[in-house]
């Protein structure tokens, strides 16, 4: 019975993703691109949620694992002759290796996970602001190296001629995979232990939980999901290192916080809501018809609306749109529960 009550925790986010995909199929070609983009953002935000949401520690570094995943998947799927022309400085084994779509995504996840593990080994000892700045430093270092090292990627150029295999279905499946992994993780004892450390580090440590180990596990898992999402992203559009830097970090963190960083549902709702609004105003720069009237806005409006909205939601509802709660069926009223409630209120 208890298991059944918990099912909406998985199905609500999954249904939201499927509904988005279905809506995306219903609209015409160039509008569909916005829906695919939104689904990729959902995958990235869920990857962020696995660490930030469950541990309560703010990390600015997860986008660097998205970037590493994008680099891996991009290099492993770009045709060899294109690499010879476009990326002359590339290391030899990267030049000759080509794995195809699915394997490149798995390897992107592996690279993201391993990088997160290596980074997390020292960094997860930190907490608070020191952790925030240290993860920011990771983002800066990754971006700097990817920007200038031509032997591992396109340096300042973008990934042109990567086969665009991410359509609406691949993006939806990627979102579903991230949601499922995140759900399974937060239902295991590891996820519960980590959330215990989020609520009260001292009490959790006293109960025998190693805060360091639990955070490291979540950081690694989050890095793997981020790498996977990065792979999906690079198969959608020609990315450059500058696309996977501060702006994406800000926007995805804002989605998580606005949705409600305490729950998986919050991560998905935040990504869908903010990216939906952002896409709407981006599309409106070319003019859209809404309920009969035609709306055209100057370019840049989307960013300004998004920034304002973020600030307003934070002021009015600082725990996010979902309040950091999962959707669950109402508890069956039992005498004991009533008694507890009565005790709590007096």
């Amino acid at each position: 019975m208890n298991q059944l009550r918990r099912l909406p925790e998985l199905f609500a986010p999954a249904l939201l993703i499927l509904a988005t995909a279905w809506l995306g199929l219903a609209v015409s070609g160039y509008l569909q691109a916005y829906f695919v983009d939104t689904l990729v953002k959902v995958a990235i935000v869920v990857a962020l949620y696995v660490f930030i949401g469950n541990s309560g520690v703010l990390s600015f570094g997860q986008i660097s694992f998205v970037a590493l995943g994008a680099w891996t998947a991009g290099l492993l799927t770009m045709p060899e002759d294109e690499k010879r022309i476009g990326l002359p400085g590339l290391a030899h084994f990267l030049l000759t290796t080509n794995t195809g779509n699915a394997a490149s995504l798995a390897l992107a996840a592996a690279v993201g996970g391993i990088a997160a593990l290596l980074v997390g080994l020292p960094l997860m000892r930190l907490s608070g602001l020191a952790a925030g700045i240290a993860t920011f430093a990771v983002l800066e270092i990754t971006n700097n190296v990817l920007n200038y090292d031509g032997s591992i990627g396109p340096s300042l150029n973008n990934f042109s001629s990567v086969p665009a295999t991410t359509g609406i279905w691949q993006a939806a499946i990627a979102g579903l995979i991230c949601v499922a992994v995140s759900y399974v993780y937060q239902r295991t004892r590891f996820g519960r232990m980590l959330r215990a450390t989020r609520e009260d580090p001292a009490a959790a440590a006293a109960a025998g939980i190693s805060i360091y180990r639990q955070r490291l596990l979540a950081f690694t898992l989050s890095g793997a999901l981020a790498g996977f999402a990065g792979g999906i992203y690079v198969h959608l559009q020609p990315l450059a290192a500058s696309n996977l830097y501060l702006d994406l970090t800000f926007i995805t963190l804002a989605m998580l916080v606005v949705g409600g960083s305490g729950s998986l549902l919050g991560a998905v709702v935040g990504a869908l809501a903010l990216n939906g609004i952002f896409s709407f105003f981006s599309a409106a720069t070319n003019g859209v018809g809404v309920l009969g009237w035609h709306l055209t806005v100057p370019s840049g409006t989307a960013e300004i609306v998004l920034g304002t909205l973020m600030a307003v939601v934070l002021i009015l509802r600082p725990s996010g749109l979902t309040g950091g709660r999962e959707l669950s069926l109402p508890r069956r009223r039992r005498p004991v529960a009533d008694l507890e409630k009565a005790r709590a209120t007096t």
Binding site: A130, I133, A137, V138, E140, I141, D247, E303, M310
Partner: protein
């Protein structure tokens, strides 16, 4: 005349001091607001950006330099007070993470307003660029702005230190930074102290805007953003909980960046941010409470 090791010349050394001085000012601006509000203001760079645009418009309208600088101070102060009233005050009682993300939102918003209003092409702050001309000091050519920025940093920090230690307002601010709730119970007026911190921090942002726009005369919407990130790292590196370690941290990271920028070859200098931030990580691992603080073993607040 050279400092013989590491190809370090006196002008490079002066560049290091210059950047260190500017970053120290920014560090104090960020540290003051953090001390009172427990708020890491990520939008500090956008205050500087707004100030630099004011200078650029002053140059376009052919205002005399002192009028452009006055305009810059006005714009930055109004904007920082608005920021506090509209965003930070309603969020004052919420968790530091929420406040930090709110400052992100403000930073993102202001940057895109600038992009929409002024465009992506750089605007020039031409009229102050004459400060880049060198002065001859004991046979060494040193840029005027290096001398001016070091002098301004030392002067501003001295005035600030006097204000904090010798005036009732300074006493209230220090009390609020130590324990806000107890300070309020003892009669310190929260809004006045916070308002003072915001205004002082805005003044320092305006000074930094003038200095930075001499160093880099091309003003773009991302002006000051990268500097703010580096200063934030420096402030945490030094120790965010006390003003002097925070200032030293800001100075240290600016000085190191300036020196390395002059010493490294162009091939290596592109990896300068990676070096600096790798050093930041190492220091944070060794001294998570800050480089210039004594370890007290107290629980971190944020």
């Amino acid at each position: 005349m050279t400092l013989a090791f590491l190809n370090l010349t006196w002008p490079t050394f002066a560049d290091g001091l210059e950047l260190g001085g500017i970053y120290a000012l920014m560090a104090v601006g960020i540290g003051l607001v953090f001390g009172v509000l427990r708020l890491v203001n990520f939008a500090y760079g956008q205050l500087i950006m707004a100030g630099a645009y004011a200078l650029a418009y002053g140059a376009t309208w052919n205002l005399p330099n002192w009028e452009s600088i006055l305009l810059c101070f006005g714009v930055v102060l109004v904007l920082s007070v608005l920021m506090d009233r509209l965003v930070f005050r309603p969020l004052r009682l919420h968790s530091p993470a929420v406040m930090l993300v709110a400052t992100f939102a403000v930073a993102f918003l202001l940057q895109n307003v600038a992009l929409l209003k002024f465009g992506a092409l750089p605007r020039s702050v031409g009229s102050l660029a004459l400060l880049n001309a060198p002065w001859d000091i004991f046979g060494v050519e040193i840029k005027k702005i290096a001398v001016i920025s070091v002098a301004t940093a030392v002067g501003s920090l001295t005035i600030l230190q006097l204000l904090l230690t010798r005036t009732p307002l300074g006493l209230h601010m220090r009390a609020a930074a130590t324990d806000f709730r107890t300070a309020r119970l003892l009669g310190v007026r929260a809004n006045r102290v916070i308002g003072a911190a915001v205004i002082l921090s805005g003044l320092l942002a305006a000074v930094s805007a003038v200095m930075l726009s001499v160093q880099d005369i091309n003003v773009v919407p991302a002006f000051g953003l990268q500097d703010t990130i580096v200063v934030l790292a420096g402030v945490v590196l030094g120790g965010l909980n006390r003003p002097i370690p925070a200032t030293l941290g800001g100075f240290a990271i600016g000085f190191a960046t300036g020196i390395l920028g002059g010493v490294l070859s162009s091939n290596q200098v592109q990896y300068l941010p990676a070096f600096v931030f790798a050093a930041v990580i190492v220091v944070l691992l060794l001294r998570p409470n800050g480089l210039f603080t004594r370890a007290t073993g107290a629980v971190e607040r944020v």
